[in-house]
Amino acid sequence: MTQVSTIPGARAAGSMRAGGPAGGPRRRRRQERLAQWLFLAPALLYLLAFFGYPIARNVVMGFQDYSTASLYTGQAPFTGWSNYQAVFTSGLFTKLVLNTALFTVASMLGQFVIGMALALFFNRRFPLNGVIRALLLLPWLLPMVASATVWRWMLGQDTGIVNRILEGLHLAPAGGVPWLSSVSVALVSVTLVNIWVGIPFNLAILYSGLKEIPPELYEAAALDGVGPWSRFRYITWPLLRPVVTVVVVLGFIYTVKVIDIILVVTGGGPADASQTLAVQSYQLSFKTFLFGQGAAMGNVLILVSLLFALVYLRFNRRAILTEGES
């Protein structure tokens, strides 16, 4: 025990030397190993406590009738698959899956297309390019609750500035668009807000990807008289593919778990029109205190995320495992 506490320091080395030949080469190697692991130990413990353990516990809770009473008694009877049954047959599930899919796919598409267009645009040289690009990061850095609050106010039907602008441009129907109060528009609204939040992330990563492409390729293509579309199609896109994969997969993982924007802007309403799997998981656990069902819903979400994680790892695993060898 005393060994453990003194090893990872200069003093340990000193005392070992002072101790003379007591530490043989094998023992020293073992101590060395131990010292190395000690650098990693706090982080490993943390990851286990705040990721490993919660995931395992969530899997178990999915099979338990875990309610408010369980919090006091510590008792939660096992009930087999009944949480999953309840979640799948609630009548809401199909809608949740559909909403989550629409929200995620539309968000990613919007963020990616706009982010890509902006990245290509900022890839040119012009004055103030760097400053403006940096300022464009702002929406991504602001606390989502704060920006979602602003959007909620801007999207108000009678009085919101968005409708005022649209009416000014004669683009809105009389009475304005019911952004937050219509069952058919609410999901569109939260998707638009989420696109706005995600554009800077896509822009930043795609831009850095574009910068990695050797300019000689474009110069050569220009000499050969290749047009801008063909340059994009045959140089930019193929060379950007790995970066695009990263953006798409990370975009998916970030979007599928979005809760704050939806809770603030629409609260999941009206009439569950903008409910997603993640929001419903929160509400099952923390509004209706059916932690078991919340866990089941959360596990469905993990499964979906892991599926995408696998895709990500398939593309990146070799890079990760070999990187940093030195």
């Binding site: 606390p143 106010w153 990760i320």
Partner: protein
């Protein structure tokens, strides 16, 4: 020859400014509305011709304490995250530990776990450990937002530290800890600053852990404060907007002051 290209680049700047104006309009509108205390949303002018600070006065009266909680929370979480992640990043970058590739992989996967799953499981555990509604409990939870990111980011910085420098320090008699502290940490200062910055921003912006792990109102960070504001009063918007502005201040200041770190953090944390 020169004139058309300068005209073109000027046009690009104009277009870029236009894009900026459109995308940052919500931010402008937030600031604008926060300064118009008497306005309902219908009468909010395009520009605060008669600026009033009464929205801010109200916001500070209601939310000042929450801002302080957020600050303590974010600073605490940053300290924990950096203290835990820095040595781990060094170990993963420089020590030939068995299975370190898998540890990196696991760290990457943790970032994909939805926060609600963690919160759902932590709630019961925190209840047992009496960590609900406590600042230390929330600090520990919020630090978990920054740790995986910080490990991955700093690892790529530390992998670039030349092995010879570390060897030289070891030959000179410096122990592992000494080498780490006086050689590696100073060289990787930029990486550590970036990790700290993001850990701070993640914790400052956290909403889900605050929403789920504090219910009694004893520990309320600003994000939760704004959310509760929304439920209570939606008629009077200027204090709400003023609170949002105050909540946005740290991110904005950090973006202006530490632009370089932020940009490198977004790309470095994602691609690596």
């Amino acid at each position: 020859m020169k004139t058309p290209s300068t005209t073109r680049s000027r046009l690009s700047t104009v277009l870029a400014l236009l894009i900026l104006a459109v995308l940052l309009f919500p931010v402008y509108w937030m600031v604008n509305a926060s300064l118009q205390s008497d306005a309902t949303s219908f009468t909010t002018a395009w520009f605060p011709w008669h600026p009033s600070l009464s929205g801010y006065r109200q916001a500070l009266a209601d939310q000042g304490g929450h801002l302080l909680v957020s600050l303590l929370l974010a600073l605490g979480a940053t300290a924990v995250a950096v203290a835990v992640a820095t040595p781990a990043a060094y170990a993963l970058a420089k020590f030939r530990l068995p299975g370190r590739g898998w540890i990196v992989l696991a760290t990457l996967v943790t970032q994909m776990i939805p926060g609600i799953v963690i919160a759902n499981a932590l709630y019961g555990t925190y209840n047992t450990l009496h960590l609900l509604n406590s600042l230390p409990g929330l600090i520990l939870a919020d630090a978990s937002l920054g740790i995986p990111f910080s490990i991955l980011l700093m690892r790529s910085f530390m992998a670039n530290v030349p092995g010879e420098i570390i060897e030289a320090a070891r030959v000179d008699g410096a122990g592992r800890l000494r080498t780490f502290w006086s050689v590696v940490v100073p060289i990787c200062r930029n990486g550590i600053v970036t990790a700290a910055l993001f850990s701070f921003l993640f914790a400052w912006s956290d909403f889900l852990f605050a929403l789920t792990l504090t219910s009694s109102g004893t520990v309320t960070p600003i994000t939760l404060g704004i959310y509760q504001y929304l439920g209570a009063q939606t008629e009077q918007w200027s204090p709400v907007m003023a609170s949002a502005v105050l909540a946005c201040l740290p991110s904005t200041v950090l973006l202006v002051l530490a632009q370089r770190f932020i940009a490198s953090g977004i790309t470095g944390g994602a691609v690596k």
